[in-house]
């Protein structure tokens, strides 16, 4: 797991106090990326690639197995407004192959958001009509 973007103003003890429970939930939830903003505090948790060596923060209690199923985050590749399809996809939904999950509307142009393969929707991070920035996680897909 990689932890980035801790403001200089934060002390080490505050970091561990606030990050540890989050990191645990992140780890157990099988997510690959989690961004949290609270005023001045901004935290991004990302799962390190499999090859990566030492994790920066490891909140998993010793002996607990790594979640078995890998999860991919589907990110916004444009700035725009998320539009869900009718009917919208739901958490837990199985995907048989590559399919459109939603689209991001940019200056009236429809930019499809695709699952890029089969899997199961593990999480939906956005709501219909929500503005999103470049790189913002929209869905988590369990492969």
């Amino acid at each position: 797991m990689i932890v980035t973007k801790i403001p200089d103003s934060m002390f080490d003890d505050t970091i561990s106090e606030r990050v540890r429970p989050l990191a645990q939930a992140f780890s157990e939830g099988g997510l690959t990326r989690l961004t949290l903003r609270d005023g001045d505090f901004e935290l991004e948790l990302r799962r390190a690639p499999a090859a990566s060596a030492q994790p920066a923060v490891d909140a998993r209690p010793a002996g607990e197995p790594t979640p078995a199923r890998p999860t991919d985050a589907v990110l916004a590749d444009v700035v725009g407004v998320v539009r869900f399809l009718r009917p919208p996809v739901t958490e837990g939904m199985g995907l048989e192959g590559d399919r459109e999950l939603a689209f991001v509307e940019t200056l009236g142009i429809r930019n499809p958001v695709r699952s890029r393969g089969a899997g199961r929707i593990a999480a939906i991070y956005v709501t219909d009509g929500q503005p999103v920035e470049y790189g913002q996680p929209l869905f988590a897909i369990e492969r």
Partner: protein, 452 residues
């Protein structure tokens, strides 16, 4: 006045615009690339949106994502800063078509002045002196014919050029073919526009530019001149000052008059700069920059005018708050560009993470910067880390103050231009003033390299 302005830039100029907006009571939206997430311009803005990956084509030049951000945030205007989309007429037009005010001149004027050959033609028609030269030429043979007529040495220039790219000096007919090929290739690569023209090369002229402001009611004023003759061999400016030292008062008046006449002729609105080559009593119009410039602070310090606030006021429809008679310069201001570059290695740009960062303070010192200790300098953008601007009652006192300010400046982690600029300030020829643009390249040739 606007409610919310989107700042379509990064680095110190984004921060500079943010400051002007906040002082005017206008809220701000920053845009940033993934490489700039930790940048100060993001932290100081009221809202911030990531618009793309590190490379500029994905982020700071991504028109769709930038306009989309402005619309999502409910911004009513866009300030483009300098570089990136600042002189992109299409961007100004698209902003306008989406109901956003572009803080700058109209797309027509940007487009006319952005094309160097067109700009020169318009200026000639308004009675502005220009260097002898050609229209667009398509082949080395055409260039040879023009050079024969106006006499060597000549300068081959890309009409879309800037920052010294797509430009080559040609001393004799034998050099033409290869110079044409290199300049053309550079222009194609940098601007996707390989159209070239030829002009008479004036040996070591001074680079003196005049700042103008025009409102939407036909009023135009100038805010004096800046001397930007201390340029690296790549023609990039390194040290700028206002007013231009050791300049004949008659030449100075003439430059100011020409600048205002030219700006009126194109119905110029917002802030702009007319660049001139000055060769003794002769002045030649070079180009007009339709944006705020990097070196604008020296003018601000001498005239006591906040140029960025004036840009925003003008764009929002306000009249100029002063007449030419109200604008009286005081003292002298010098700016040094602190770049992440190695002066001992052809000013090669550097990227990396900064260690200790300490800037100067005290009387008469202004530092415009976006960096701090631990900041990351990404490899994707220009290498400027900070601008140090000092004022003094005289040029001599300003030079001494800049020397002092640079001696207080510490930036660790990357090589910078700080020590090199200190060396320049101590040079007798620099202190004597009135140098031409060839001075620094010649200085570098005869200088013994300093090995750290």
């Amino acid at each position: 006045m606007f409610r919310k302005v989107l700042i379509a830039n990064r680095g110190e100029i984004a921060l500079r615009i943010n400051r002007a907006c906040h002082e005017l009571g206008v809220s701000t939206v920053a845009i940033f690339s993934e490489a700039d997430r930790g940048s100060l311009h993001v932290r100081h803005a009221d809202e911030a949106f990531c618009v793309g990956a590190g490379p500029v084509a994905s982020s700071y030049l991504n028109i769709a994502n930038i306009i989309s951000t402005a619309l999502i945030c409910g911004a009513d205007a866009i300030h483009p800063g300098y570089g990136f989309l600042a002189e992109n007429a299409r961007f100004a037009e698209i902003a306008r078509d989406h109901g956003l005010t572009f803080i700058g001149p109209t797309p027509d004027v940007i487009s006319a002045m952005g094309d160097k050959a067109t700009a020169k033609r318009i200026m000639q028609a308004s009675g502005v002196p220009t260097t002898p030269g050609s229209g667009i030429i398509a082949t080395p043979d055409e260039a040879l014919a023009v050079a024969e007529e106006i006499g060597y040495p000549v300068l081959l220039k890309a009409t879309a050029g800037g920052g010294g790219k797509g430009m080559r000096a040609v001393e004799s007919p034998a050099e033409m073919a290869s110079a044409f090929a290199t300049a053309f290739a550079e222009a194609e690569a940098s601007f996707k526009d390989g159209r070239m023209y030829v002009e008479k090369l004036i040996r070591s002229p001074r680079h003196i530019e005049v700042q103008v402001l025009g409102d939407h009611y036909g009023d135009v004023v100038h805010l004096g001149e800046r001397d930007c003759s201390v340029q690296k061999p790549s023609h990039q400016k390194l040290i700028e000052e206002a007013p231009a030292p050791a300049l004949d008062p008659a030449v100075r008046d003439r430059l100011h008059e020409i600048a205002v006449t030219a700006a009126r002729a194109v119905k110029y609105t917002n802030a702009g700069t007319l660049e001139f080559l000055v060769d003794g009593p002769n002045v030649y119009f070079m180009e007009m920059n339709t944006r705020i410039q990097v070196e604008h602070p020296v003018t601000e310090m001498v005239y006591g005018v906040d140029l960025v606030k004036e840009q925003i006021r003008i764009a929002s429809g306000e009249r100029l708050g002063f007449t030419q008679a109200d604008l009286i310069p005081h003292g002298c201001a010098i700016e040094v560009r602190v770049n992440a570059e190695d002066p001992e290695n052809n000013f090669a740009p550097a990227a990396g993470t900064l260690g200790r960062v300490e800037f100067a303070g005290g009387p008469g010192v202004r530092v415009d910067t976006h960096v701090y200790a631990g900041a990351v300098v990404p490899p994707f953008y220009d290498s400027m880390l900070a601008k140090i601007i000092v004022t003094g009652r005289t040029r001599e006192s300003a030079i001494l103050r800049m020397e002092r300010a640079l001696s207080e400046t510490r930036i660790e982690g990357v090589k910078t231009t700080v020590e090199f600029c200190r060396e320049i300030l101590r040079d007798e020829e620099f202190q004597r003033a009135g140098l031409g643009v060839d001075w620094l390249p010649n200085y570098l040739r005869r200088r013994t390299p300093v090995h750290a």
